[in-house]
Amino acid sequence: MPGTISFRRKAVDRTMKALFCLAAILVILPLFLIFFDLLIKGGKELKLTLLIDLPHPVGEPGGGIANGIVGTLVITLMTMLWSVPTAVMCGIYLAEYGKGKFASAVRFAADTMTGVPSIIMGIFGYILLVLPMKRFSAWAGATALSMIFIPVVVRTTEEMLRTVPTTVREAALALGIARWKATLRITVRTAWPGILTGILLAMARIIGETAPLLFTALGNQFWQSHLDQPMAAVPLQVFTYAISPYEDWHDKAWAGALVLIAMVLVINIAARVITRQKR
């Protein structure tokens, strides 16, 4: 009877739909669980002293991660100071001039670096700077982070520039504007919101990176204004506190994680707002 077959097929259809729906719920669920725990456990310790005090020794109440917050900002700025121009210029080359074998090699290099595990960039910073200088330093940390930052921004810059229609470039050139000026003032400016979004997303990523800093910036219990010395960073503090055996440090780890995710999310959302304005 056709009716029974149809019923069976309908049942299978319904079951599969329910399973797909379940999969979607299971995929999103961890996000809510993680944010819930971060807010509950991290919120408990989130006081002003956390943001303005140095870490205290075990057992001593209070204390904060102020040096880590500043350290993270300093290392991120150091990274971006030379990585942004490098990556954007390289992206401009690939999009505007890059046709030959050299350009393909650069693209392959950037793609390869994007896939390299971040811990390996830590090894790179260690061998290149920590071994010769014989000490851990903010410089080494920034070097490791720029190896993550640069390839990502190179590829987004190229992609964004390629979305600018050729007619725009041609119109500029037809008006008699020099090509370099047309590239910078017209092409790059048109693609700028997209490039900026890429830069901000890469920035959010390096702010949260821990592995490359483990044996480059190393971390520090105190303030450090010298860039050739070990420097604290929030992700490093979260890691150290989390694997410590002390209860009060675990609380600090959660609070630090909450601060870290706040930094990452603010930048992420800023990036999204910029993209939306473009449309």
């Binding site: 739909k17 979607a24 996000l31 401009i92």
Partner: protein, 310 residues
Amino acid sequence: MARKTGGNIKDLLFERATGAFAFLVLFLAVLLFAVLLRESIPALRKFGASFLVTGTWDPVLEKFGALPFIYGTLVSSFLAILIAVPLSVGAAIFINEFAPPWMKTPVSFLAELLAAIPSVIYGLWGIFVLVPVLRDVLMKPVTKYLGWIPLFKGPVYGPSMLAAGVLLSIMIIPFILSVSREVLATVPQRQKEAVLSLGGTRWEMLRIVIGQHCIPGIFGATILGLGRALGETMAVTMVIGNRPEAILSLFQPGYSMAAVIANEFTEAVGDVYLSSLVLIGLILFAMTLAVNLAAKWILTKMVARASRGI
């Protein structure tokens, strides 16, 4: 675009300047490889290919082999794939084919947020939330009744290969999900409509269409996720248990390549010790490179096929 400089020196300078930065990026990539290779030579000289299959890790006797770490990396990553692929593909199908339109943007936004969470936060959550839950709800009961199966052998501590696999799966789901959604979107609408017009149900349509179009793409997405999982450091370090032994049981602590570098690099005294860790890094580099190239190759072929409209 053909360049008519007309002797414009500034144009040439600008092109050269951007070219110089492009060269710098290429140089950094080569430098990275060269540095890893050079520092791993002492270990390569001393152990040769046996490094890959030796199970001892003894800093005191300076005898090193990467087997437990390679094993741990592979097992935890495959476990992650095993969990993440069905969930991501299922979720991708739901979002693309069943979910009402208003749901699509928030759900993909949430998945992107999942990708933005720093690894160390996953690790923190893993230590204090996931590991205790897995231990009490899953591992303890299973060992009690199925402990005779080598995969589920106790004693249960908590930090384990299973915990690493589950945590990794959560971390790679966003990537597999977004690529799977792109792959599903390449299916020509008229083919879907053709199956539906013949009286097929939604599921029958999906089965036929996915079977014909999407398997290579989903495979590519899987490989891409594998590439992510292999190199993941902090989260794995925090929950895998860090015991340098290759043990069959998923409930026992293990170790991974990235984790041993993270844990021991600063305390590696002696050239051979440090060199062995760098060599592990080099092997990891080679593995992720091979996996990423494979994924890219598969996905490019997919896109080429889709654009031809087959």
